[in-house]
Amino acid sequence: MGGVVISTKKMSKILEVDIENRCLLAQAGIPNKRLSDAVKDRGLYFAPDPSSQSVSTIGGNIGENAGGPHTLKYGVTVQHILGITMVDPTGEILQLGGKLEGAPGYDFIGLIVGSEGTMGIVTEAWVKLNPIPKAVATALISYRSVGDATRTVAEIIAQGTIPAALEMMDHGILRAVRLAFGLDYPDGTLAMLLVECDGEPEQVAHEMEAVQQVCRRNKALDIRIAQDETERAKLWTARKKGIGAMGRIAPSIVTHDGVIPRSKLPEMLEFVYDVAWRYQIGVANLFHAGDGNLHPCFYFNDRDPEQVKKVVEAGEEIIRRCVELGGSVSGEHGIGIEKIDLMSLMFSPEDLALQATAKRIFNDGELCNPCKVLPNQKGCVEHRKRWRGTAW
């Protein structure tokens, strides 16, 4: 009970930009997108682009090892962090790494990124910058069935193409996006894929042609290729704000986060629809389909405690199924307190003890998000009861 919340909101400067070495140093409180905005006129950008990038900070991205639609080709946040400054729980300021990656020694940065603030507070980071691709092609493909769309995803990857992004939206999301942004799509569309290829112009043309062939083989209703940057931005707005658009349909939404092997996508989607039907709550689905990361989005009325309870229980059922199918309880959003009880689905007591040992490298006490990530930490039972109490 009690505690202090520390916000890095006022630490939002870019401290140094090194264009020639393709990196920049930023404070933790800066929104992700501002990093790319700062260097785009020099032909560079910061690749990790979670849908929240206009508001989520680099410190938060580091805490959660954030992903986003372009993870498939460019990797997650940890692959773009070269150095960090972190204040550990004793108040020591630690500087790890710098401008150059791959240094010998233990990979402390790899451990800290994704540790959800439990090892200290990251205040600054050296981030890697990528050259902006010379060419990009974005396509929106409509399907009469979710099965056709998920089979397309599997085939694109299996044939050796690595698109920059491979996203899927079902009819629940599409309906909301049409209401909110006027997105137009053929009648009978129950699922859409957003595919993006980037790189050298010839390579992009070749990849997008291969993608289209796969789509046609899997009975695509319509394939729309963005003709210019304006249209491309419009297609991406519809995807990145899809969940926000759900506000047109219901007063409240909860977006869950789980991962399954890509090959299990069709089976998992059927399960999600079945769960929603059994609990009688609405669901819409957004997937980072290329890496099997699903975001079932339940919409409901949070003034009805019964609906709230159903949403929590339905979410847990879905996450449990993810693990049963060989996936993970979280692909992007982290464990926090919400999923602590689910950690034992993936990790044995010995596995969790190993993680607890790693945490002690930096944090041997009760500070820094003490009740997050690892179960059975002392003093946390009351904390978790309080969280449950808000649900019902």
Partner: protein, 291 residues
């Protein structure tokens, strides 16, 4: 030398070993290893019989493999289904390039040496999504998972990569694979006058220092990779080549100087990590230079 055939045997060896334990796969240590003073009387563990693919989800592009498997064996199996680990066929760090591909995965991962496609395709820290390790007291534990995208818990497998088995023995590794068809052409260039020479100095500098570093090392350079600003060089055992701000070096044949850490923060954290994972300093004593 003990040659276990199962992870339970490995666990038993480690839990029973009262003295130091040394992991190596060959009569002589890895060229870039530091053969610490404690290793002379150590129990040697070889994984030469702990090999093979445990599981391969072809369509999901995930493979689980025992760490004693050679890189060549894994690549050959993956190639049958059009997949690979994105490494070039040659290894600038090896005198006989083809010999390097016969190294076991445990050595590759434990040393995490630069390779010729690092800038284009990443490295072991990017491809390994899970591990089973055996800790110094014989406990078997898993870290990471088989999901190619996963943020559940702490990524302890990251600590093990490049740790030269000083924190635990890497037994099983889960990789995400790469489509063979998409493998880029490496841009490593070799010196025509240094063919067949063994590098004993691997040097990575900032891109802005690369040209100056190449000029400075001159005819000692065996190979270089501009995209990752990395050079493989032959230097005399007591020779100190020019260093640059923010760079790093890996050495061979220089004893404890094979690995040098100078940052007091890093040294303190590494020592703390060693105390937590291997309090009796049983595992590969001396392997990291500072302990």
């Amino acid at each position: 030398m003990v040659i276990p055939e199962s992870i339970e045997e490995i666990a038993s060896i480690l839990s029973e070993a009262r003295d130091t334990v040394n992991f190596h796969m060959r009569p002589q240590p890895h060229p870039f290893a530091i053969f610490g003073p404690g290793m002379a009387g150590a129990v040697g563990i070889s994984l030469s019989s702990y090999t093979g693919i445990i599981e391969h989800d072809v369509s999901d592009q995930v493979v689980v493999v025992r760490a004693g498997t050679s890189l060549n064996e894994l690549q050959a199996e993956l190639a049958k289904v059009g997949q690979c680990l994105p490494l070039p066929r040659f290894d600038p760090a090896c005198e006989l390039a083809t010999a390097s591909i016969h190294e076991p995965l445990i050595d590759k991962i434990a040393f995490n040496l630069p390779h010729g496609l690092h800038s284009q395709c990443g490295s072991w820290r990017d491809w390994i999504i899970g591990m089973r390790i055996v800790q110094s007291d014989g406990t078997i534990a898993k870290c990471g998972s088989k999901a190619v995208k996963n943020v559940a818990g702490f990524d302890v497998q990251k600590l093990m990569i490049g740790a030269r088995n000083s924190l635990g023995l890497i037994a099983d590794v889960t990789f995400k694979t790469f489509p063979l068809e998409a493998l880029p052409v490496p841009e490593v260039q070799f010196s025509t006058t240094m063919i067949g020479r063994s590098p004993n100095w691997i040097h990575r500098v900032l891109p802005t220092d690369f040209a100056a570093a190449l000029r400075s090392h001159g005819l000692r350079v065996i190979a270089f990779d501009k995209p990752s600003s990395t050079m493989w060089v032959e230097a005399g055992p007591n020779e100190n080549l020019r260093r640059f701000k923010g760079d790093w070096v890996l050495r061979a044949g220089c004893g404890k100087r094979n690995l040098e850490f100078t940052d007091p923060t890093v040294i303190q954290l590494m020592k703390r990590t060693k105390e937590l994972f291997d309090p009796s300093h049983k595992l590969n004593p001396g392997a990291m230079g500072i302990f």
